[in-house]
């Protein structure tokens, strides 16, 4: 009895060690460019780019199937970062995929909510808490403001108020300098 338990245990340990070691040894790294693109994307998983999430969109950009200007939540700065990474020209956001809106989070009017769980199923980041016939609420920290929960709500109890700037979430603005191109004028002058 004891020997059989010991033998099975011994086998399990050996197999675990071998498999664990080989999973490190034979680790397959994903395409690094996809990871880099994915880290620039805002991870709202909103699907406005027509791909089912940020990672698929990143894969499509890496394969040359998608353009870099299809991500409204990423905004202009996102497109600029992508253009720099991919080594292509910056182009303005494609408006057919939506426009950049100020950052907002969903808010559920808890008096009207009927607890149908439809918005929970729609939420790509699991930011809605609730159960059937129970009131739902938004976990503000997790909400990416993708608005995917708005269409399924049968009683329209979800609104998207803008996040107002206060001392909690204020950040330094990205510095923008207007650089005058003086070299072209100079070269013209010398010739």
């Amino acid at each position: 009895m004891l020997t059989s338990i010991l033998i099975i245990l011994f086998l399990a340990v050996i197999i675990g060690l071998v498999l664990g070691f080989s999973s490190v040894q034979f680790k397959v790294e994903g395409d690094p460019i996809i990871e880099k693109i994915d880290s620039i994307l805002p991870q709202t998983q909103c699907g406005q780019c027509t791909y089912p999430g940020c990672k698929p969109y990143a894969t499509a950009i890496a394969n040359g199937e998608a353009d870099i200007n299809q991500c409204p939540p990423g905004g202009e700065s996102g497109v600029r970062a992508l253009a720099e990474l991919m080594g292509v020209e910056y182009k303005p956001l494609n408006e057919s995929h939506g426009i950049t809106k100020p950052k907002s989070v969903a808010f559920i009017d808890e008096d009207t909510c009927i607890g149908c769980t439809l918005c929970i199923q729609a939420c790509p980041v699991d930011a809605i808490l609730g159960a059937a016939k129970q009131m739902h609420t938004i976990i503000e920290k997790e909400c990416t403001g993708c608005e995917l929960c708005l269409p399924p709500c049968p009683v329209d109890c979800i609104t998207m108020p803008e996040v107002e700037e206060d001392t909690e979430n204020w950040k330094w603005k990205y510095p923008v300098y207007n650089i005058n191109n003086v070299t072209t004028n100079k070269s013209k002058a010398t010739h």
């Binding site: 033998i7 197999i15 498999l19």
Partner: protein, 193 residues
């Protein structure tokens, strides 16, 4: 000595074919035989797993189970070992042959549930072969499996274009073909003395 190994191979490929005579491993035999290409790569993966699996399970049977009188644990330990070998093969393949890995897809982990893969180490243990003999037995079994699978899938590819009565189309004619092949392989029994 060499003759012995040759006999083992011939007997497992033709006379005691694992699929058509022992009726083991029918799931991949029916499932992966629609296209010749996938059936070839499936056979290669199964051959690898079977050979390594029968060697490791021989070692476990010989050094761990038999000295301790734990023969009744064979099935359990062999399943675990085979699952581990399949997992290992999967990792190895993903790293070194990503195209093959993608082509096999779900069938690669499904080798675990291929009963031929469990059946051969168990038959090995019953026949009390040596390490090399059981390796040859495993490889021969895999060869027999591949042989039949490739024959069957090429037949099925041809059957696609054949005039088959409506009620017999698809799986029905595949079953009938398999049965006829099994009958044909019974003819090899005469080879065994």
């Amino acid at each position: 000595m060499l003759n012995n190994y040759f006999l083992i191979i011939i007997s497992t490929v033709l006379v005691n074919n694992i699929v058509l005579t022992k009726i083991l491993g029918l799931c991949p035999f029916m499932g992966v035989s629609k296209k010749l290409e996938t059936s070839i790569s499936m056979s290669a993966a199964t051959a690898f797993v079977l050979t390594i699996g029968s060697m490791t399970s021989w070692a476990i049977n010989h050094y761990l189970l038999e000295p301790n009188d734990l023969v009744y644990l064979r099935t359990l330990t062999f399943i675990v070992v085979i699952a581990a070998v399949v997992q290992f093969t999967e990792m190895l393949m993903e790293k070194n042959f990503p195209v093959l890995y993608k082509m096999l897809g779900i069938f690669l982990p499904l080798i675990t549930t291929n009963c031929a893969v469990l059946g051969i180490p168990l038959l090995n243990a019953q026949a009390s072969y040596t390490l090399l003999e059981s390796a040859f037995f495993g490889f021969g079994g895999a060869l027999g499996f591949s042989f039949v699978l490739i024959l069957f899938s090429s037949t099925r590819e041809r059957l696609e274009g054949a005039h088959i009565p409506q009620p017999f189309k698809g799986s029905a004619i595949a079953m009938i073909t398999a049965a006829l092949m099994s009958l044909a392989f019974m003819g090899f029994i005469g080879l065994d003395k």
